[in-house]
C-alpha cells in the first residue's frame, strides 16, 4: 500500500502568525535603517494587510516586510492540538510535507528551528505559491491550510482541504472543504 501523504501549512494553521503580527512588540528600532515615522507607517501598512501597489519588486517596504515577517515566524506560538496532530501523523506512518508561502530561501533556517523547537515532525519542506497545483502535481490528496483560495479550489482538483475556523475570516466562496475547530476533527476525517 503506497504511503499516505499530507501537506500542512504553517502560518495561521499550525501557528498564530496574524495574531503575532498584530499584537507583537515591534517597537521602533534604528537597526531597521528607517526614520521613526517611516517605520510607523510601514508597520501600520503591514498590519492592515494593504495591497502592495508598487511597480517594483524590491523596495524599502518589501525589505521591511520581510524582516518583520521573519521575526513573526520565530515569535509565533504553535497550536498545541496542531503539534499533537503532527505527532499522530508521524506515528501513523504518514509522509508529512510542510507546504508554505514563506520565502524559504531566507526563512529555511528559522522555519526548521521553529519546527524542531516545537517538536513538530515533518519529512519535507516546500514553498509553493499555488498549493493546489503543488498537491495535484505531487499526488497529495490532503491539505491542511487556512488560505481562502485553497479552500475554494481544492475539491475540483481532487485535493481534500481542511481549514481552521477563524473568527476574523472574510466570507468564503462556496466550497466543499471542511472547517475544523480542533485538529482532532481532522484526525477522524483522514483516518477513515
Amino acid at each position: 500500500m503506497p504511503q499516505r501523504t499530507i501537506a500542512v501549512d504553517l502560518d495561521d494553521t499550525l501557528n498564530n502568525f496574524t495574531e503575532t503580527l498584530h499584537t507583537g512588540d515591534f517597537g521602533f528600532d534604528a537597526a531597521y535603517g528607517l526614520p521613526e515615522q517611516a517605520f510607523a507607517g510601514y508597520m501600520e501598512r503591514l498590519r492592515n494587510g494593504s495591497m502592495d501597489v508598487d511597480d517594483l519588486l524590491s523596495t524599502e517596504y518589501s525589505f521591511f516586510r520581510y524582516k518583520i515577517h521573519l521575526r513573526c515566524y520565530g515569535l509565533a506560538r504553535a497550536r498545541a492540538d496542531g503539534v499533537d496532530f503532527m505527532r499522530w501523523l508521524e506515528a501513523a506512518g504518514w509522509r508529512i510535507v510542510i507546504c508554505t508561502h514563506r520565502d524559504l530561501r531566507r526563512a529555511n533556517a528559522c522555519t526548521r528551528r521553529w519546527l524542531t523547537d516545537n517538536g513538530i515532525p515533518f519529512d519535507h519542506l516546500f514553498m509553493a505559491w499555488n498549493k493546489i497545483v503543488f498537491c495535484r502535481a505531487w499526488g497529495i490528496r490532503h491539505l491542511v491550510d487556512d488560505d481562502a483560495f485553497n479552500i475554494a479550489h481544492g475539491e475540483p482538483y481532487g485535493v481534500n482541504v481542511y481549514y481552521p475556523i477563524m473568527e476574523r475570516r472574510r466570507p468564503l466562496e462556496a466550497n466543499r472543504a471542511r472547517g475544523f475547530s480542533s485538529f482532532e476533527e481532522v484526525k477522524q476525517w483522514i483516518a477513515g
Binding site: 519588486l57 519535507h124 516546500f126 509553493a128 505559491w129 499555488n130 505531487w138 499526488g139
Partner: protein, 251 residues
C-alpha cells in the same frame, strides 16, 4: 567527461560543490527519492509560479553527483545554481536585474546602461568581467587566481555598485529600476545562489548568452568566449588588491 562540464568545473572551481540549487520541471516523490540517494539531503523544495518548474536546494552532494548534475545542466535537463564559500572566494559576481514586477525579462535602458557602466568601471580597474545574460538581466562574473576574504570582496563590490548607481542617476535615470545584488554577501550567505553559465534559463528557455562588447553572442560563440575569458582574464589576487585600494580611496 563532456568538455563543457570540464570548463564549468574549472571556471567555478572556487565555489563549494557539496550544495546546489537545482531547477527542473521534474517532480514527484519517486524523483525526489532518486535525487536524495548517496547521502544527498533536501533543505527545501519550491514550486514556482512558472508552470511546473521546481527548485530543490540540496546539501551533502558528493562529487560524482555534482558532476552528474553538471552534465544535466549542459544538456539542458536542469539548471544548476551554486552557492558561495562562507569565508573567502576566488569568484565574485554582480547580479543586475530588471526590478519591475511585470515584464521583467525585458532589457530596459537603465539596465543596459548599468551593465555598460559597471563593465567599464571593472575593466578600468583591471578586473574585466564575463557578462552573462541571466533572464532578468545580467551576471557580471570576475574570476581571481586565488581566494580573497569575503568582506574585502563585498567592500569592493559595494563601492563599484554605488558608483554605478550614482552614474545612472547622473545620466537622468532612476537607479531603483535596476536591482544590484552582490555575491558573495556575508548577510545572506548560504541563502542565495547563482545559476551557472551554459544552459537555458528555466523560465524563458533562452541560453545564457555572453554579452561581448559587440552584443550578445550565440551559444557556440559564448562557450568559446567563456573559455577565452577564463584563460585570459583571470585576475591575479595581487592585482585585485590594487583595484581594491583604488576603490577604497575613491570613497
Amino acid at each position: 567527461m563532456d568538455r563543457r562540464v570540464e570548463l564549468l568545473l574549472e571556471f567555478y572551481a572556487g565555489l563549494p560543490r557539496d550544495r546546489a540549487k537545482v531547477e527542473t520541471r521534474r517532480h514527484g516523490f519517486d524523483y525526489l527519492e532518486r535525487m536524495l540517494s548517496d547521502g544527498v539531503t533536501l533543505e527545501y523544495g519550491e514550486l514556482t509560479l512558472d508552470g511546473l518548474l521546481h527548485k530543490y536546494k540540496l546539501a551533502n552532494v558528493p562529487e560524482h553527483r555534482m558532476t552528474e548534475l553538471l552534465r544535466g545542466h549542459v544538456e539542458k535537463e536542469c539548471n544548476v545554481c551554486l552557492y558561495f564559500d562562507d569565508r573567502a572566494n576566488s569568484l565574485f559576481c554582480f547580479n543586475l536585474d530588471n526590478n519591475f514586477k511585470v515584464n521583467n525579462t525585458v532589457i530596459i535602458p537603465e539596465l543596459e546602461l548599468a551593465v555598460e557602466l559597471l563593465r567599464n568601471l571593472l575593466s578600468g580597474l583591471g578586473c574585466g568581467p564575463l557578462v552573462v545574460a541571466s533572464g532578468r538581466g545580467f551576471h557580471l562574473w570576475c574570476r581571481l587566481d586565488g581566494p580573497v576574504d569575503n568582506d574585502r570582496l563585498y567592500n569592493f563590490m559595494l563601492r563599484c555598485a554605488a558608483k554605478t548607481a550614482a552614474a545612472l542617476c547622473k545620466a537622468g535615470h532612476d537607479h531603483n529600476k535596476v536591482k544590484i545584488n552582490l555575491y558573495p554577501d556575508r548577510r545572506i550567505r548560504d541563502v542565495v545562489s547563482l545559476r551557472l553559465f551554459g544552459t537555458d534559463h528555466a523560465k524563458n528557455r533562452v541560453f545564457s548568452r555572453i554579452l561581448s562588447e559587440g552584443g550578445l553572442l550565440d551559444e557556440t560563440a559564448s562557450w568559446l568566449r567563456f573559455e577565452q575569458h577564463m584563460r585570459g582574464n583571470t585576475v591575479a589576487a595581487g592585482h585585485f588588491g590594487e583595484a581594491y585600494e583604488t576603490m577604497m580611496a575613491a570613497f
